[in-house]
Symmetry: C2
Subunit: 211 residues, 2 copies
């Protein structure tokens, strides 16, 4: 087997396209639970295939510097993508309970899907500025989640919505917020990959604001 | 720097002792939010230190076979331990809302802490039987979570408990269930480390029952 760092990057892109399909399908009323399960199965297969390819690449090529950072970043991005697939399954379950479109969730999902797209673009284009932007964007997603959770807790308390529907809306909001966290993790991995700097747990990056 | 695979293992044990302190403190009424934040800060420092040590070890020593699997497993275990620390913070916040001991949560936490301890023991003792046991134990934790969530949703609906308290109990149960998932991930990493087999997404392991 002759594998190179570029092959690892290509694997991530194939995995990402499955995950993006799963995310956009999770709130789409035309997609069924079965559709999302089918995607999850493929995502899980890719998850193992990519980890195996990274292991073999490191074992056989003994990469250093940026090539080693690529292999390690790909393993981490792979883990985050797989978890996004799990979140999609959870979202679909709750969306079926709700059975109709909720505007606040739709808007939040658009923002989250953009964040995921940008995180992956920052990886493809080795763009640390875009990656930094994704990290800041996470603050907005967290605020959207807080608003939705607060609104729907109040609606449940005031009997303006049934418990089961309100609870499912809150859960979807939380799942979307988690997907945003995974996108942020990917952006942090891109910065490590490109610069060698580990900026996780760095409050300066986390509290940054977009201009 | 002369680092060996044993040093990586020692790092994990130090990180694990911080995480175990954080987990046991999260539901302990005598521990404050500040106590858990202090532990989280140390856990985050270790998180970066361990990833850096693994990277340097792979770059400088070009390990193969079990030594490489150790470095990769340590990176993954490190990530799961860090997330357990995050879950502890979330649990503490909800425990403060509740302000009293809830027997079902206490019992579930005992089971989860045992699962975490066994996952780490399986790593220390290179014991794949114990690791397999941890993976099966996760089914029981999931069942405990389902029971608590169902019970407290009913209590909220029937006005037997205030919404905020009931909601916090449900959230703690979910956080404990997530910690169980992370312990299961560690057990899967131990099996990969010791055998070279990737058993993730393998239904045979997941549905196994303890004798």
């Amino acid at each position: 087997m002759d594998i190179c760092a570029r092959d690892l990057r290509d694997h991530v892109l194939k995995m990402a396209s499955l995950v993006e399909a799963s995310l956009s399908g999770s709130l789409n009323l035309d997609k069924t639970m079965e559709d999302i399960f089918d995607l999850e199965k493929k995502i899980n297969e890719f998850h193992m295939l990519i980890d195996d390819a990274c292991f073999k690449y490191i074992a056989l090529k003994s990469p250093t510097a940026k090539d080693l950072r690529t292999a390690i970043a790909v393993m981490k991005i792979n883990a985050d993508l797989e978890r996004m697939g799990d979140q999609s399954v959870k979202i679909k379950r709750h969306q079926i309970t709700i059975g109709r479109e909720i505007l606040q969730l739709k808007n939040m999902a658009l923002e989250v899907n953009l964040m995921v797209k940008n995180a992956l673009d920052s990886f493809v284009r080795s763009n640390t500025f875009l990656a930094t932007d994704v990290i800041h964007h996470d603050q907005e997603i967290n605020a959207m989640n807080r608003d939705i959770v607060r609104d729907y807790i109040n609606k449940i308390k005031n009997n303006e919505i049934g418990f089961d529907e309100g609870y499912s809306i809150i859960k979807i909001s939380k799942n979307l917020e988690r997907i945003g966290d995974h996108a942020k993790n990917i952006a942090e991995d891109v910065i490590f990959l490109e610069s060698g700097s580990d900026i996780r747990h760095n409050p300066e990056y986390k509290t940054g604001k977009k201009e």
